[in-house]
């Protein structure tokens, strides 16, 4: 169900900067996305917050250098996270295949 999941909060006049509200998300995605955005050289500033612990929403602030739009930066981060998960899974699969036999501790 790709319902409205990412909204833009506040001023949207300049597309190089925006605050996105990720609905039904927590620190889990917020912090991971923040890390990936901070690793993007076209991103000047990025931070995330959970405005209220009772609201199931995460705000992600993105300001880019102007080379790409803030939205594109977030899309790139999302795609990178998919690739990261692929890397984690294949690496974990290899580890399971090479795992030593179980021992009791």
């Amino acid at each position: 169900m790709p319902e409205e999941k990412a909204d833009v909060v506040g001023d949207a006049s300049d597309d190089s900067m925006a605050t996105f509200a990720l609905l039904d998300e927590t620190h889990t995605l917020g912090n991971a996305v923040r890390f990936l955005l901070n690793g993007n050289n076209n991103v000047d500033f990025c931070g995330y917050s959970v405005p209220h612990p009772s609201d199931h929403v995460v705000h992600v602030r993105v300001q880019t250098t102007g080379e790409i739009s803030a939205k594109q930066a977030l899309i790139d981060a999302g795609n990178q996270l998919v690739d990261v998960c692929d890397a984690l899974e294949s690496s974990f699969d290899v580890a399971l295949a090479q795992a030593p036999p179980p021992t009791s501790t």
Binding site: H27, T28, L29, A32, L81, D83, V84, S91, L96, S104
Partner: protein, 434 residues
């Protein structure tokens, strides 16, 4: 050494940091600055600061995890990522594995941990219909106890059920429990203990709300004939077929059942009876802890010992250090033979680190305390415990519903699904506005 700069002992971690910042006499080796992320030890190279958290006494330094201005790409991670399983129990109840890469950040490791605890779905008892309960345990308390019983039923076999949705063979597993305590002819009390093994699967759905209100008189579970005319569940085909279509194999998986057969639910006295039905649904730990597949799941950073290069431990101090560590770790092995100190040795009068303290928490703690400022020890400011910020030792202890291997895989899949949803919702927005 400036023992007045920082106080060890019971002081909170933030106190010594502030004191160090204010003191102009701080020497170069332990110069401390306050940054946005806490204390930074400038005596270390940038590379080392990015790699290790450094701990001596109560002082914790270099906690921020940055890439040092480097850009991130998933290829960098996948090319450098190494994962290995380091321990697992023969029972299959726990798994320890390590993940390491200079590009593996805390935020990614923590996302996995959080998902394993709160978002990997399992099946648990959600509602309990009590027909008869003459025991001393109240219905509500009994229902809560039943909810916490881990259920062996793969969540992939079931669909999600929303609150107002009708319970069907696709989204609900029904268990019945009918136990009467009595005294038999030999004078023995039978069924004194009601255990989780008394829960029996009803593949045909609820027997309680059957039109006409007839449950099998002898309390034997129904045979799986679908029970359509029912107030509580609407099973239209046998649940066996529905589960089998989603990967269930009766011969290898067995019937849905409690993971453990011997969980004590209630104790009865003769003539007391409990008759109830327990309806299970698929759920996730963020909704209720009973759905969490892990007893717990955590990670720690790979620890190592460090002796300062700029002010090494030499001469008599070096021998004293070896002695201290030996006093803790012992000088004999299991067979009673002499063994050298595992963690530190003296070479040309200089103490050097000689061993891996990964699993020796006592040695880690000793090292941390010896390096503490204000302790008056000759090792003040020379010894520190360091932890690799990009090398995670995960431990996953399952509650029994799923194997730990499966929990990790499910968590990775769920994180990927989150990322995909984020991307697709942003792509949709473009189409809306254009």
């Amino acid at each position: 050494m400036g023992s007045s700069r920082r106080r060890s002992g019971t002081a909170a971690a933030s106190v010594p940091v502030t004191a160090a910042k204010l003191d102009p006499s701080a020497d170069a080796d332990a110069e401390v600055m306050m940054g946005g992320d806490g204390a930074v030890d400038t005596s270390l190279s940038l590379q080392e600061r990015n790699k290790y958290v450094r701990i001596s006494g109560t002082l914790v330094q270099n906690t921020s995890s940055t890439l040092g201005g480097e850009s991130f790409s998933p290829e960098l991670l996948s090319n450098t990522l190494s994962t290995r399983v380091t321990a697992s129990e023969p029972s299959g109840d726990s798994l320890e594995f390590e993940m390491a890469s200079p590009y593996l950040d805390l935020s990614l490791a923590n996302a996995l941990r959080r998902i394993m605890i709160a978002e990997v779905p399992t099946v648990a008892i959600e509602s309990v219909l009590v027909k008869d309960n003459t025991s001393v345990i109240q219905d509500e308390v009994l229902a809560h106890r039943l909810g916490l019983v881990p259920i062996k039923c793969d969540p992939a076999w079931l669909e999600w059920k929303s609150k107002d949705e009708t319970a069907s063979e696709k989204n609900t597993i029904v268990f019945t429990l009918d136990v009467t305590c009595y005294v038999n002819e030999e004078g023995e009390v039978v069924n004194e203990k009601v255990k989780s093994s008394h829960l029996k699967w009803l593949p045909g759905g609820s027997d309680m709300g059957r039109t006409g209100g007839v449950a099998p008189a002898d309390g034997t579970p129904n045979d799986g004939t679908p029970n359509v005319d029912n107030e509580y569940t609407k099973f239209e085909t046998s649940q066996r077929d529905v589960l089998a279509a989603r990967g269930w194999d009766e011969n290898t998986d067995g019937a849905p059942r409690p993971v453990h057969e011997d969980i004590l639910l209630v104790k009865l006295r003769p003539k007391q009876r409990i008759r109830l039905e327990a309806h299970c649904v698929k759920g996730e730990g963020c909704d209720h802890a009973k759905f969490s597949p892990v007893a717990t799941c955590w990670y720690r950073l790979y620890p190592s010992l460090r002796i300062s290069e700029s002010s090494p431990v030499t001469g008599k101090d070096a021998d004293a250090l070896v002695e201290q560590v030996e006093a803790l770790c012992g000088t004999k092995d299991d067979q009673g033979n002499d063994k050298p100190c595992g963690y530190v040795k003296v070479e040309n009068g200089v103490a050097t680190v000689a061993g891996d303290v990964r699993d020796d928490f006592k040695a880690q703690e000793l090292w941390r305390q010896l390096g503490s400022d204000g302790s008056g020890s000759p090792f003040e400011g020379k010894l520190s415990l360091q932890k690799d910020k990009h090398h995670f030792i995960f431990t996953v202890e399952t509650a029994g519903q799923l194997t730990p291997q499966r929990i990790v895989k499910d968590a990775i899949h769920l994180l990927r699904e989150k990322a995909r949803k984020l991307v697709s919702s942003l792509d949709d927005q473009a189409m809306d506005t254009d």
